[in-house]
Subunit: 320 residues, 3 copies
Amino acid sequence: MLHQRHPQLNRHGELIHLLSTEGLPRDILTHILDTASNFVSVNDREVKKVPLLRGKSVFNLFFENSTRTRTTFEIAAKRLSADVINLDIARSSASKGESLLDTIANLSAMAADIFVVRHSESGAPFLIAKHVAPHVHVINAGDGRHAHPTQGLLDAYTIGHYKGGFSNLTVAIVGDVLHSRVARSDIHALTTLGCAEVRVVGPKTLVPADMAAMGVRVCHTLQEGLRDADVVIMLRLQNERMSGALLPSSQEFFKSFGLTPERLQWAKPDAIVMHPGPINRGVEIDSAVADSRQSVILPQVTFGIAVRMAVMSIVAGNEA
Amino acid sequence: MLHQRHPQLNRHGELIHLLSTEGLPRDILTHILDTASNFVSVNDREVKKVPLLRGKSVFNLFFENSTRTRTTFEIAAKRLSADVINLDIARSSASKGESLLDTIANLSAMAADIFVVRHSESGAPFLIAKHVAPHVHVINAGDGRHAHPTQGLLDAYTIGHYKGGFSNLTVAIVGDVLHSRVARSDIHALTTLGCAEVRVVGPKTLVPADMAAMGVRVCHTLQEGLRDADVVIMLRLQNERMSGALLPSSQEFFKSFGLTPERLQWAKPDAIVMHPGPINRGVEIDSAVADSRQSVILPQVTFGIAVRMAVMSIVAGNEA
Amino acid sequence: MLHQRHPQLNRHGELIHLLSTEGLPRDILTHILDTASNFVSVNDREVKKVPLLRGKSVFNLFFENSTRTRTTFEIAAKRLSADVINLDIARSSASKGESLLDTIANLSAMAADIFVVRHSESGAPFLIAKHVAPHVHVINAGDGRHAHPTQGLLDAYTIGHYKGGFSNLTVAIVGDVLHSRVARSDIHALTTLGCAEVRVVGPKTLVPADMAAMGVRVCHTLQEGLRDADVVIMLRLQNERMSGALLPSSQEFFKSFGLTPERLQWAKPDAIVMHPGPINRGVEIDSAVADSRQSVILPQVTFGIAVRMAVMSIVAGNEA
């Protein structure tokens, strides 16, 4: 029962999988961020490598292609000295009619230690974690619209780094919140870490009023959303997902919710601007903002490696 | 002349390539299985790595795509500390009109140590082994309908592990034996290792009577084939290969040769069930059998890593 | 200003990027070749590995696919103990509309050390080197028709190895010089290293008279071009690039410029024959020549690994 509510934790309350930031206790979030902070310095060294995962096998199982995210996990694992196996799942046995769970059972039997899973269907990493052998740890690298927990954690790390904490902060998450697994993972991480206010900002089609149930403030104008914000997280407008008519056009979106230098002045003067990337210049964010001193988009990428190293080293150290 | 009959052995009778289990002396088969048994324990350790192939370069040359088999060789090589290069041959110079032997000569010149070769044409690994520089060792990872020797060896390892030896055993290989390189490699390995009886079981279109020339017993009913068997090896029904009309349908096949719990009772009570994977549930094997305690399908995968480590470390240690 | 003329060198005149052999001082060329000569012996050893780039991250950014060249860089980097990340750029964020420079900035932020860049557009590696963070070194692995400097250097290494120097040599470069980045990189390297005469040989459509401005002798017949040559470099006839009508046909080309054993006798008796590969047997080169004792095409491949190890280790050791 306890296990069902916390599929990510063992009976000692230790992290054995990372599937979602939802429901993760604050001390675990803090432990991940503290561990990441050590790895930030590793990434600055001449020899960017520690032997923590030497002789471990990390499998990148990307059922949905994402070169960028796969690359960050691959680098993180290699800097921990793990052996990394990239599986081009789209071309593998999956296409020979083998079921997801048979594929997973087979890879487990190869004495895998960590599965990094990206899947277009929400919940796939949970399903895998539920059926995997006890020696395997599952890390969700993005599942459908559901969760992208390492992105949520690296966003939290970035905010903590630049703002020195969370308790007095107002964070605005702007854009297509409805379809965004990043937004969901940010919201759960940031509210647990004690941010004073998390706002979701966008048109009603992309930010329905019932999102307030997640403990956030819903704003339908950018001016209201940015007012006195300490942190502005712009989401990527995923044109490829909006086959429907939720938006008139990306130009229209930019007119109302695109972040320009002028509008950024509604936020606090020292507000930081974040984005999970890849950015659409002139769609959700003006180049002058993306390249400004307030932008911490590239540091997010840097911290993302350290956060992924932290997550992998933590789960690998705990027994199911 | 001797060299022509044993292209896998050097003049001291040591294994320098693994192309087929056919014609391999029993002491070499035994040596591979004994070596694999040491590597099984390596795969159980915290640090699943030994330095035996440190500084060696293993090239995965998969002219025919097979993510699963490629992955097992990649893991095996990395656990031996080799550098592994995966070549996406379909997109490489081969497509620029370069001949197979020119491609091979070029890769040899990069100071390769081991080529792991998968090819849709029977005999391609032999051709390569014949023309390769003396410092290169060739391992056949499956060629056409001809051979899949590491599968044959891992099947033998699995049988030896669960049955403690070979001499009194009856082994039934069931299904599309005609098209199966796995069946052929199993037959050669198991008869050399001294199995009492190897049976091939299937309809006449897939198991012609003249297979008896291979030293096996041919059975055209499942009941006859399974009677008192110690080991049942179910082959994958390769729908994609059966464009012709060798079979009415896969449902028809299951009706006559699919392995159900009831039919498995024809075999000995402690019979083990094997399958090279990926399995087609409900086509050649019932889920209740695949997931039963008699099934050793996942241990086969585990032992497969150790057997491939054994083969790579042995050939790399012998000079042409 | 100085920096604009020598984008590859830092203010101490040390190599920090390798973008082109054009404008590279002779002492730098010599330093690369001398360093490569040490790595040739590493590639001959039992353990083909040195720890020079341990803990460094090398990214293979192949915007244009080339399995062969990518492989040589991957092997070179792994033998230097670097972590290698292969990016399938065609399928990455680039295709999500992200700009080249945003892609590069993101990868830099992952604490990359070396970018190996192949691009169909001339100048792309220069653009990248200009915008990259100071800790990143860029190596051009071929850009459009412009340059392929590691090929130029490995050709120079091969010539130096077989001829003991450059000062008295006549080198003939034969074929589609106009479209060849290899030819251009060869010409710049060999003239700087002091070859007595570099000739470019081919029909007027592929070898325009104004190439003489590059300090080479232009020859429009093979006989004139090969006369008393010490080195013959045959270029690949890139059928795939010749959509226009620069040539009647490849048969026609072979009739006038294909290298046969008879024609090779026009060169010096101890002339060596080179080719960047993959060769088109019977198009630009006769099999009897390609496989002859004068051919050093495979040693070129071997030396290419050592030259790439040299370039990577040198640039990684110098600060921007």
